[in-house]
């Protein structure tokens, strides 16, 4: 079950198995190719073998049988230290060196590769900025940072030597939901500019669907399915995968579709200054001087807005906008936040239908 993408394969598992000393089989006959420049997610519950598989890429775990190939070379023939210096690694709980300042943590790999500490530190400042961290955090110790900040430092550290491959082992599971979403957005943003080959391990199916170009579902050491997220949702390979994705498959699928082509409908608007004394027929959207939506008015009472649909939004957000609006009509805005049109739930469902048919 390999993904026959047009891009060359950066990492190849060829019939790889791992049996530990105590007899447990962590990975069983894994054959999988990770395409270059794409984000591949290994997903599964604990003990599914996803982390073991990841760690065989940088030889933190040695396969019992089969070959793992990175960049065309069998990893067993490469010096492990050299291999790891060329692969970025982000772990859960960051795994930062507690006794070194943030800047030195980030500069670790360049220094190990021979760069002078000063040059490495200078370069590290740029990387910190790239992951969205303030430069004044550079001289602090890890213990002084929040969980989310530590994770970002972990990512910066992995990126510092500009490795072509990035391994991420449940990097966001130790932080709360809000921070997790920010970090996920950050990864997507970075990937859009950097195009690294990323292998990302998680037990959270939603995270997998959000981030992945391809998803590999593991269970008890065996690969169950390896497909892009839409395929996974529309066509689960077996009962396990369907069950793992769980209920809400349909709703999740909506998140994967861009709302760009969605037709907008007309909505009566009222300028905010003219609100007192206005008599709309039915619901009207109140807009402020800049053209941004401020609330709804039905002739008697003013109500708050529901969620908004922004230019980069997906169908799930479009539907949510309509459902959460007091008037039943969603509000779409442009990049500057100005109101551009209404969103009708019926239009969203029509778009789903069209896609299914076409």
């Amino acid at each position: 079950m390999t993904d026959p993408g047009a891009t060359p394969d950066a990492i190849v598992f060829d019939n790889v198995s791992k049996v530990f000393a105590d007899g447990t089989t962590a990975v069983r006959n894994l054959t999988l190719a990770v395409p270059e420049g794409r984000l591949t997610v290994f997903v599964g519950s604990s003990g599914s073998g996803k982390t073991t598989a990841l760690r065989m890429i940088n030889r933190m775990v040695e396969p019992t049988s089969g070959t793992v190939t990175v960049g065309g070379a069998d990893v067993a023939t490469v010096d492990p230290v050299a291999l790891r210096l060329g692969i970025g690694y982000v772990l859960q709980n960051a795994g930062l060196m507690p006794h070194q300042r943030v800047i030195d943590n980030v500069a670790t790999v360049p220094v190990l590769k021979g760069q002078t500490r000063r040059a490495a530190r200078t370069a590290a400042y740029a990387v910190l900025e790239r992951v969205g961290l303030d430069a004044n955090l550079a001289t602090r110790y890890p213990a002084q940072l929040s969980g989310g900040e530590q994770q970002r430092v972990g990512v910066a550290r992995a990126l510092a030597a500009d490795p072509p491959i990035l391994l991420m082992d449940e990097p966001f599971s130790a932080v709360d939901q809000v921070v997790r979403r920010e970090l996920q957005d950050e990864i997507l943003r970075l990937q859009a500019t950097l195009h690294k080959t990323i292998v990302f391990v998680t037990h959270d199916i939603d995270e997998a669907l959000t981030l992945a170009d391809s998803v590999a579902v593991f269970q008890r050491g065996v690969l169950q399915q390896y497909d892009p997220p839409e395929t996974l949702l529309s066509d689960p390979a077996n009962d396990f995968v369907a069950g793992f994705i769980g209920t809400g498959r349909g709703y999740r699928w909506l998140r994967l579709i861009d709302a760009a082509g969605l037709p907008l409908c007309d909505v009566e608007t009222i300028a905010a200054e003219r609100l007192p004394g206005a008599h709309p027929d039915g619901w009207a959207l109140v807009v402020d001087a800049a053209g941004a939506p401020a609330g709804w008015f039905d002739g008697d009472t003013a109500s708050r807005l529901g969620s908004l649909l922004r230019p980069d939004g997906n169908l799930s957000q479009a539907l949510e906008s309509a459902l959460s609006s007091p008037s039943g009509i969603g509000v779409a805005v442009d990049a500057a936040g100005r109101f551009i049109g209404g969103v009708a739930a019926a239009d969203v469902l029509a778009a789903v239908d069209a896609r299914r048919r076409g």
């Binding site: 940088n58 933190m60 230290v81 050299a82 291999l83 790891r84 210096l85 060329g86 690694y89 772990l91 709980n93 795994g95 930062l96 060196m97 507690p98 006794h99 070194q100 670790t108 790999v109 190990l112 590769k113 602090r140 110790y141 890890p142 213990a143 002084q144 550290r157």
Partner: protein, 212 residues
């Protein structure tokens, strides 16, 4: 007190000898214990053998070691070398245990991360494991140093030198003020050196004091 003030030269000379006898073994002991501990930390059989041997060595009272070593080494009883070897063995044995425990406290996740980043083994030990083990090691080091200072004064009963001479002399000549002076001076020495070790530990571990 009065005795101390009137015998300052004597005090200085004896203190130098005492500190040399007490502290040199600590340095030598560390030089032996640290590499040894690092080597056996992850080798279960070698580790058990080493800790067992160390246990036996530091269980033997130093006074006994002072007496037995001349037989093995061919030194004379009161040779300074004899005392240094005896105390070094004792200190090294104690420190091996302490260093092993300190190394064990380094979190597994940090070690794992270091290996995954591409740290070669020796570099990792020098730059990650040992620095992180320092706080725990300091605690053990303090006990070892203070104990050694006391050990040297016990050795004065067989005449090895150091401030313990004031105890034996004072006892034999019925001068209690000499003994008191010795007690005070040794006490002060131990406290000062203990303080210096704590200070050195703090300087070496700035990250433990960083406040959120």
């Amino acid at each position: 007190m009065h005795y101390l003030l009137t015998h300052l030269d004597d005090a200085r000379a004896l203190t130098v000898v005492h500190l040399r006898l007490a502290l040199l073994p600590v340095l030598l002991g560390l030089a032996i214990a640290v590499p040894l501990a690092v080597a056996v930390q992850r080798a279960p059989l070698a580790r058990r053998l080493t800790t067992a041997t160390a246990s036996v060595v530091f269980t033997i009272p130093s006074l006994a070691l002072f007496v037995v070593l001349p037989v093995i080494l061919g030194t004379r009883l009161l040779d300074e070398a004899n005392v240094i070897v005896a105390l070094t063995s004792y200190t090294a044995a104690l420190l091996v245990r302490a260093v092993l425990e300190a190394l064990d406290t380094v979190p597994a996740t940090v070690r794992d991360a270091a290996a995954a980043l591409g740290y070669p083994k020796l570099t990792r030990i020098m730059k990650v494991d040992l620095p992180l083990a320092i706080p725990n090691l300091i605690a053990g080091l303090r006990v070892v140093v203070v104990t050694n200072i006391a050990m040297v004064s016990v050795g004065s009963v067989i005449g090895i030198g150091g401030l313990g001479a004031w105890f034996t002399e004072g006892y034999n000549t019925d001068k209690s003020d000499q003994i008191v002076a010795g007690i005070l001076l040794l006490f002060a020495l131990a406290v000062v050196i203990d303080g210096l070790i704590v200070l050195a530990g703090r300087v070496a571990t700035p990250w433990t004091r960083a406040v959120r």
